[in-house]
């Protein structure tokens, strides 16, 4: 019995010392897996359109800055590519690579309004299911269109569309783009 008491006292003393050890400033955390920027490039011949959404403060109060450089030509098929970047760290981290490495656990879904007439993934994961990092986009008449993309982590694959896919949304952006 005496032994138990001694042990307990020693234990409690040990714990006092244990807890009084750290009093330094906390370490700065540079979040590595945050996506701050989504850059979509659409190309057809010499016509290049770049759409970007950049939110450097992540879940901070600042809104993403959405820009569209250039405008699409009507009745044209574009080859598109999307890149996901973390620009809050230096050097800038390209998250697209991680998405590509884990292609089976990711999918990019697209939405659009006319005069964009179709968007289709042109890449697949190793199981042959769509991935969506590269895609083709076809325009119809001229006008103003909305083009949106959603990156889902761990969706159900294969799926019949975004609602069926489930998983978690890592990116959801919408662009306004004019078709001339």
């Amino acid at each position: 019995m005496k032994k138990i008491f001694t042990t307990l006292f020693t234990l409690s003393l040990f714990m006092i010392f244990l807890s009084c050890s750290d009093n330094d400033s906390p370490e700065l955390i540079q979040e590595e897996e945050v996506i701050t920027s989504v850059i979509v490039t659409l190309q057809s011949g010499s016509n290049t359109v770049t759409l970007s959404s950049v939110d450097l403060d992540g879940d901070g109060p600042n809104e993403p800055v959405i820009t569209a450089q250039g405008s699409l030509n009507s009745d044209t098929t574009y080859s598109g590519a999307v890149r996901f970047l973390n620009e809050s760290v230096s050097p800038v981290e390209d998250i697209t690579e991680e998405v590509a490495e884990e292609a089976e656990e990711h999918q990019v879904f697209y939405s659009f309004t006319s005069p964009i007439s179709s968007v289709a993934s042109s890449d697949t994961d190793s199981s042959g299911n769509p991935l969506g990092l590269v895609f083709t986009l076809t325009t119809g008449d001229s006008g103003n269109a909305t083009f949106g993309l959603t990156l889902r982590h761990k969706p159900k694959k294969p799926n019949t569309g975004i609602l069926d896919a489930g998983g978690e949304t890592d990116v959801a952006v919408n662009f306004s783009v004019s078709v001339q």
Partner: protein, 793 residues
Amino acid sequence: MKYTLLLFMALVLATANAQDCHFVLQGKVIDQHDGKPLKGAIIAIYGLEKEVFSNENGDFVIQGLCVGFYEIEISHIDCGTQFVPIKLERNITKTFYLEHHVEALNEVALIKKVNNLLAQQTIDATVFENKLSQSFAEALTEIQGINTLKTGNSIAKPLLQGMYGSRVLTNNQGVRMQDMEWGAEHAPNIATSSVEGVSLAVGAKALKYGGDAVGGVIVLDPRKPVFKNRQKHTAIFSAYSNGLGVLSSQKFEKDFKNGLFYGIQASYKKAGNNHNAAGYLQNTGLEQTSISIPFGWHLAHKGIDAYISYFKANNGILRNSHIGNLQDLINQINGDTAIPIGDFTYNIENPRQDVSHILTKISAYYHFENLGRWTLQYDFQQNNRKEFDVRLGDRNKLPGTDLQLQTHGFQSNFKLDTSYDKVLELGVETAYQTHFPNPATGVKRLIPDYNSLNFGAYLYGLKTLSPSWEIEGSIRTDRVQIKADKFYKTSRWESLGYNTDFLDFVVADFETQILTAAKLNFNTQSAALSFHYNQQGHRVSTHLQYIERAPNPAELFSEGLHHSAARIELGSLRMRKEKAHKLGVQYSYSSDQRTFLLAPYFNRINDFMALIPSGLEFTIRGAFPVWEYQQTNANFTGVDFKWTEHFSNELKFTNGASLVKAIDLKNNTPFPNIPPVSTQHELEYLFKNIKGLSVQLAGEYNFRQNEVPEDLMIFNPYTQKEQLLEINKAPNGYFLLSSLVEYQFPKSGTTQYKLRLSGENLTNLAYQNYLNRLRYFSNELGINFQLQLQINY
């Protein structure tokens, strides 16, 4: 602590031989279940060396007693122990009923200690035996007025009269459990099987446990010595169908006549994916281990107690509840997303929560003759919590949240008890706490590094005015000092206006982030007054309380996105203390046939700290509603009701109901997460011809919560439309049916077997519980059967 008076009296009585000591206490012990006399019950007077057994007719006699207060302990190996206070002024003849299931209400017959006028409602160990497979908070719902706030099926937090978290203290073995600031998704780290008994402390006595218990105090009884040579094993094995769960709990207790005692309790529980009517729920398994070792040595005038416990749990979190943005949540709430149906597995994957809690304490008391008792206590706690989220690549193995909280507590209590009709207690306590969120997660800290130093002092008094009137009062003051080192996003720091108001907190600027060192002090004062009136089984207690609570670190410093709730939560450095004014009345009646409780209360809280939606913010993931801790005024009004009637020796009926209304007075809206009106009904039948067999049938109706905050209109940039986010919409009312069949085998030697077969949600109802934070993602559990074998030897 509670035996002070008795021990002291024993001491006085032992030395005061000249006193008139010829009184006789005689009586009869009866099994309440079948009305038959109980042979072999032990009747002991606490603190005196007097102990007798009841004979074949249940009769006993104790002679040579002096005038005074006594606590009579009546125990029987089949039935557990009762403590009955008696005031002896003449010879007394009394009948004692022993009972297997000690109901919450039987307080008058079961007052556990002299002068315990406050344990409003109690549960004893036998009730916990029936509820071993449930979480601690769920087992507590036996007490009228306690609900649970759940996150899925395995994480449940007690909700006492509509309040939870920092407003409800849990005092385990005399130690204030730390961790309640860790949010609604953090359950108390207590294994149900380690619990000896629970009571609710209200009114003046509650202030001894803490000055900030705006909601109330849940007190877990410590192990008590029995002052005789005794050895007790309790082994419980349980298996249940929903989740194919298994549970084993082993308890060994050893007592010696000289007051030395020790024990060891260990339990292990494992379950796989739960199911409901639709199928298996993905990733809902759990694994839980606990061990606790109480030991001590109690003499009449001095004693020492120690307690060591370790609790560890790994809780799976429903896979599809882990969502990325608001649109995912809207899709779930509107039922647009198919709920994935899993398979059965014991594997627990991400998202999951890994928690552990070490609690140790050592306390000692010394009784100074003709003065009182001095108790000193040191305790240490370490809580760890890791949240594993679904992350990219190898980061899956890294927790997204990794928190460690260490607390050292020291307290001193002096109890003056030189007279029978009054008690005075003076206590001081201090606690030092450090919180360390591990930066290795690579994810921004939700709660920052901090350390806090608390001092508290209280004065408590009790006076018996007449045989029927008693009055209690207490005052308390606390000082809380919090030093926090926190990184703010520069944009957040500026948008909250902290760059002008809290400029002196800034330590370093890292462009996108700012390191701050906040030092905050809060002084709080609390006071309470309780009146009690007793008359022939009727008892009316009135409690008046004024309580101040300092803000906790979550309310001050939260900053960031909660993925599971799809919202940004923000604390505020501008928080002031909140102030509660509470009036509670409790009427109870108890007789052999009937117990009755009616307890209305009113709680007005000024500067009530609440998470209130304040707008919408856009990120690359989409839009998120922002919930900010703000201060408002609140009214909590409610009533708890419970009635037990023994229609005959065989048939018992219990009916309970609870109602609580909680209004945010500034915004004139109800608060979220307030329990809807509920009623419970239970019939218990004890077979006359088959001794030891009993059957219970219970039904519970939970109404729809009609008083919910308004849902939010959210602009959905994706569809370019306004959309209703029905986050507060309450599910429909539901009726749940459950049953229990219990058989106690005839005893062979000292060994007794008990077999229990129970069933929950017998109709396999598909329903949603308003108090489950994951109700949008799945229905509640379906039917569950449980088989439990208990061996006492």
